[in-house]
Symmetry: C2
Subunit: 393 residues, 2 copies
């Protein structure tokens, strides 16, 4: 073994997910992609808004020296200012460009934030179910992710978090609307959570940064709103991307915004800018920065996702699946009939229906359906969902 | 201090460079940007080729579902294939798409390679003078950079490397054409170096990976050629970007290509793909991947850089500076009159000429002039260069 033993271990550990993808690829080769119902990926299939392409064309033709060149590592000052203006509204707190760093997607933003905060051995807490990349992101920078089981209805379990916080906890991640559950934490739950963080911080004598990973903030339904977190807790860093809002996840553009009242603010933002550089991101892609500056607050057709959600949820409810319609994201996370997610996912695979077991989100007994697919995939998959359901019952 | 102590230390350590930039900004505010001759940055000022914009327009209009979406973490298979075909020529060894990973620039490529290879405490060797970001890149992943002084004429010092290699050495970086020296290592020097690596590897019982950071490969003059390294040493990973070839450093697009004969090849490439994902890059920007696929082997007007080099070198020689015309890159690295680079850089600053001291490249007594600037900047700076020179003599 000539490579890093740590990375070799990670590869061995992720063989389960790789096996799932390999099985999916084999099924598609065998039956044709149209006859496999792939709900395993969070790759938006709704088209970007037409202004996105129009703006790209316009910007490419602008006569400006160095327009594809380096800019400050934090991004173009005028792009950061446009984002700051928008974030001020969304977070109900006036911030300026000095609080914003343009990043290579939310994944880039999370990594520069964690690298800036963590000392070796520090813990990062998150509520289950959760996006498991966080485990790698914490580990990348010497930290360790600890997963706190959620309360009833996927709420943040305030007591459980409070009991788990000691002086080794440097950061807490929340992800709302949540991947995979679609849960939007209520303002009340977030207020209680913030008060708990304040108490815990006083008790441990350590600033605890709250990383709000919010790439699904605009994918919400039925008039739901995602509460602002800046007014609730000063040590908040919002990390997000335009991947889902604009259906451009492959372009790697997002930002991190820091509450101006955060402890050690100047050091924190300068550390994040430094980490953006030294981790090799250097800066968020130039052309995409310029495009998104003019598309603040815009999003793809959310109604299309609402329709897909209803099509899926109504169909599965009719079959007998127990579920609640999620208020956000393009994921449905529901209990598996029979309780064993790994074997139920296998049953669905036999029907050429690909989903991800809850074990992949630290919540066995559930499974995730990613419904950012053509309506026809949802409709045509229903027979498979029914057959698997009937086999268990 | 609420942030990472390691990052805080790095920020304190980089205060010298920050001070330099602050002084530069102050001078520009005071005298006007046109009256400050800024040779401190490697930000290409030659225009991208017109096909770059034309191809962007065409690709943006292509009717294709998910064209800004996620693709495999290693990049689009057809883009990797186009790169593999080109690298096969350049490296004089047939490779296929399975040897190529599209990356967020060379900085991204170096980081995923080092993370894939390094175990805690491992050493990474590099020859001086060198791009000091390597120190951070090694440190990011638990490694430690060790700088080996170069031989006469910036050649790789084979003996010095051989003596420094023990079982803790996991990787060696070479950067040719070199930033800051412009040096292109000769085929003979590289052959001797490769044989030494083979001997050292046998002695220590450990595979030593050679990371060839080659972003300046196409910026060469006077018919110079950069030797292929794949045929010389099997454990080679070439990392590069289109930043300088196409004048698009802000767009963060590059690739890593692994010699198919490398030890532990399958694990190595899979590790690098995994690291591309978990470090938060996820994938190289989608649109840029599609554009560069059709621009293999293309580059901006190298003749413009040749002209700038000659203008600068001839002017400085006339004044009395001791220098050799570099065969590659857009940097000139030369001895400071008087020998003290820090105080000479201050002298130049008094003349509103901004350059980087050799201390910033682990080679005090020299300074770097980055000549990717308008010809007029070079011409108008000559008085300042003369005055500083005369003050020392």
């Amino acid at each position: 073994m000539a490579i890093s033993t740590r990375i070799a271990d990670m590869m061995a550990g992720s063989s389960f997910i790789r096996k799932m993808f390999e099985t999916g690829a084999k099924l598609k080769a065998q039956y044709g992609a149209d006859n496999v119902y792939d709900f395993s990926l969070g790759n938006p299939n709704v088209k970007p808004i037409s202004d996105f392409s129009a703006d790209l064309h316009r910007i490419i033709d602008e006569d400006q020296v160095g327009k594809h060149g380096y800019m400050p590592n934090a991004g173009y000052p005028w792009v950061r200012a446009a984002v700051a203006e928008y974030v001020s509204e969304e977070q109900k707190m006036k911030i300026d460009e000095g609080c914003v760093i343009m990043t290579c997607g939310a994944g880039g933003g999370m990594n520069i934030a964690l690298k800036s905060i963590l000392n070796p051995g520090d813990k990062v807490l998150v509520s289950s179910p959760c996006f498991m990349e966080y485990k790698f992101y914490a580990d990348n920078h010497g930290g360790q992710l600890e997963i706190i089981p959620s309360a009833e209805g996927f709420d943040l379990d305030i007591d459980a978090f409070e009991k788990s916080i000691d002086a080794s906890v440097a950061a807490v991640i929340i992800n709302s609307p949540n991947n995979p559950s679609g849960k939007i934490y209520s303002e009340e739950n977030l207020k209680d959570f913030s008060l708990m963080l304040d108490r815990a911080s006083t008790r441990t004598g350590r600033s605890i940064y709250l990383l709000c990973d919010e790439p699904y903030r605009k994918i919400v339904f039925d008039g739901a709103e995602v509460p602002a977190v800046f007014p609730l807790y000063r040590n908040t860093i919002v990390v997000t991307s335009y991947s889902k809002d604009l259906s451009i996840p492959g372009e790697r553009i997002g930002y991190a915004a820091i509450n101006p009242g955060a402890d050690d603010f100047e050091n924190l933002i300068n550390a994040m800018i430094l980490c953006n550089r030294i981790l090799g991101f250097v800066n968020a892609p130039a052309l995409m920065q310029r495009v998104v500056a003019g598309l603040q607050g815009r999003s793809v057709d959310i109604e299309a996702y609402r329709r897909k959600r209803d099509l899926l949820c109504d169909g599965l409810s009719d079959i007998g699946y127990k579920l609640e319609k999620p208020k956000g994201t393009f994921y449905l996370f529901l209990e598996v009939p029979g309780g064993d997610d790994l074997s139920f996912v296998d049953l669905l695979q036999e029907e050429r229906v690909l989903v991800v077991p809850g074990s992949g989100f630290a919540m066995p007994g559930y499974f995730r359906i990613s419904y950012c697919v053509d309506d026809s995939v949802i409709i045509n998959s229903m027979n498979g969902f029914r057959t698997a359901f009937d086999k268990i019952k």
